[in-house]
Symmetry: C2
Subunit: 167 residues, 2 copies
Amino acid sequence: MKALIISADNFEDTELLVPYYRLKEANIPVAVASISRGVIKGKHGYEVAAYKILDEVNPDDYAILILPGGEAPALLRKEPKVLEISRSFFSHNKPVAAICHGPQILISAQLLKGRRATCYNLVADELKEAGALYEDQEVVVDGNLITSRQPGDLPAFMREAMKQLGL
Amino acid sequence: MKALIISADNFEDTELLVPYYRLKEANIPVAVASISRGVIKGKHGYEVAAYKILDEVNPDDYAILILPGGEAPALLRKEPKVLEISRSFFSHNKPVAAICHGPQILISAQLLKGRRATCYNLVADELKEAGALYEDQEVVVDGNLITSRQPGDLPAFMREAMKQLGL
């Protein structure tokens, strides 16, 4: 079992690092993919090596997709390959866990219509506009979709993500 | 079961936040104690509320003590109450997990003589000087004592910490 995190510069540091370390604690290899190969830098200055570029990602290789927040999703939602990867996870009913601004990617991929979800409060209007059923909860689970609002929700977010992986 | 994190300003952000969120994921209440009450700020700018001051801490209330790194341990090792709390955990053989500069507190408490341990590389000489058996490993477990070197070791650090809690 492997996990995939897609992010880019100006990610929210803990929203990437907490899931990254948590999955590794469970001995799950984690691939970090981004727009270009190399180091991506968080809003708080943490650096993470993105060994894969988006075009190299085969979503069939991964059991879960994690979409951290920060300013990265604003860039990533413009990348057709990110939307294609997200759709692949949904079409195979595999877990997709998006936090804070992360759900913006799923909005652009038109995957949230009729789905229960949450997100960062400033993204809520956009989420509703996309047809999602917004809930102001620390975590919302709707089938394969796990969403949270902000860093303080990470314990609930990861609890549900690990549960969906059967861990 | 409750957990205790002792830290102060200029903590290494992920070394506090990753254990904090991980324990909360497991539904374990976590108290953060510091020199004064209020918000403590990490080197990367994250803020954490320290609801307890050291004098209010009764170590008997907690199943595990976590000592994150950064510059905080340099301040905390001068606080007699921190050393007293650490000694209480050792005398009851309860888990103490220290990472990076965190073991400096245990050096000052004279708890490492003859114990296998690791720490941040720049602290290694001081650790050996205190009589510890230094090992350059991602995590070293010696009885109740769990030590790690740096943020990248957090998965191994938390794997062993959770194991000691029977989780």
